[in-house]
């Protein structure tokens, strides 16, 4: 048996294996789910409701997914679109009186949205706010802030905005 044949064959096999590993590594790098952040997949949430507790659940899920490195897309439509509102003195100028009235009756921003249950004209929400502060639970505006910081994509329904201003 030729003494050189063994090592030469091994070297050849090693080169072939190296090439294969390099190919697989390149393939893995191209696959989005195997990205460096470790993220797997993405989460899409449609926020239709404009109630505090329902939005709280949506933003908790969003933050959890973002923390795990997933992409998060949140679509706000109908009552849900009202939480993205930001009142300005100029906003009423280009709208009809009916749109302005609608805007007046809706919560002005995210901290004004009601509970879906036990709101009791604001008393329920006030109690909830005190309890949450005592227990160190994050409030809705800061959950939104965290989601934005971690790179959540927010989409707002233009038709809803047209209705609610």
């Amino acid at each position: 048996m030729n003494k050189e044949a063994g090592p030469a064959r091994l070297a050849g096999e090693l080169a072939a294996l190296r090439e294969r590993v390099a190919r697989l590594e390149a393939l893995q790098a191209e696959t989005p789910s195997g990205s460096a952040s470790g993220g797997t997949g993405s989460v899409s949430i449609v926020c239709f409701s404009g109630e505090w507790d329902r939005l709280f659940a949506a933003f908790t899920i969003a933050n959890g997914a973002l923390a795990l490195g997933q992409d998060v897309h949140m679509f706000f439509t109908f009552w849900g679109a009202t939480v993205l509102r930001k009142k300005s003195v100029w906003s009423g100028l280009h709208r009809s009186w009916l749109q302005n009235l609608m805007g007046l009756l809706l919560p002005a921003n995210v901290s004004r949205v009601p509970l879906s249950k036990m709101h009791f004209g604001g008393l329920g929400k006030w109690m909830m706010g005190i309890l949450m502060k005592q227990k160190g639970v994050e409030d809705l505006p800061s959950l939104m802030e965290h989601a934005r910081d971690l790179g959540a994509k927010f989409y707002c329904c233009d038709t809803s905005l047209d209705l609610f201003g």
Binding site: S37, G38, G39, T40, T60, N63, G64, L66, A67, L68, G69, K135, G136, V137, E138, H146, D149, L150
Partner: protein
């Protein structure tokens, strides 16, 4: 504990905030950094394990520290 260890005090913060803090730290610091996070949220122990598993960071140690749980993580 080396001086370069990044300390996060998440005591008093409720779920999902400790994990949000981890994710933010992950974005700020390079791979190889050592992170030590203190939290007393009941879900933290299982949360931090799941976070490390899913994001591919290494959970070096998980121990009780006073009334809290301290997790030491090597960022990957």
């Amino acid at each position: 504990m080396p001086d370069s260890t990044i300390l996060i005090d998440a005591r008093g913060l409720k779920c999902p905030r400790p994990i949000i803090e981890l994710a933010k730290a992950r974005r700020q610091h390079p791979s190889g950094s050592i992170l030590r996070i203190l939290a007393d949220d009941l879900a933290f122990e299982s949360d931090v394990r799941a976070w490390c598993d899913t994001t591919g960071n290494l959970l070096v140690a998980l121990e009780a520290d006073g009334g809290a749980i301290a997790a030491t993580i090597e960022l990957r």
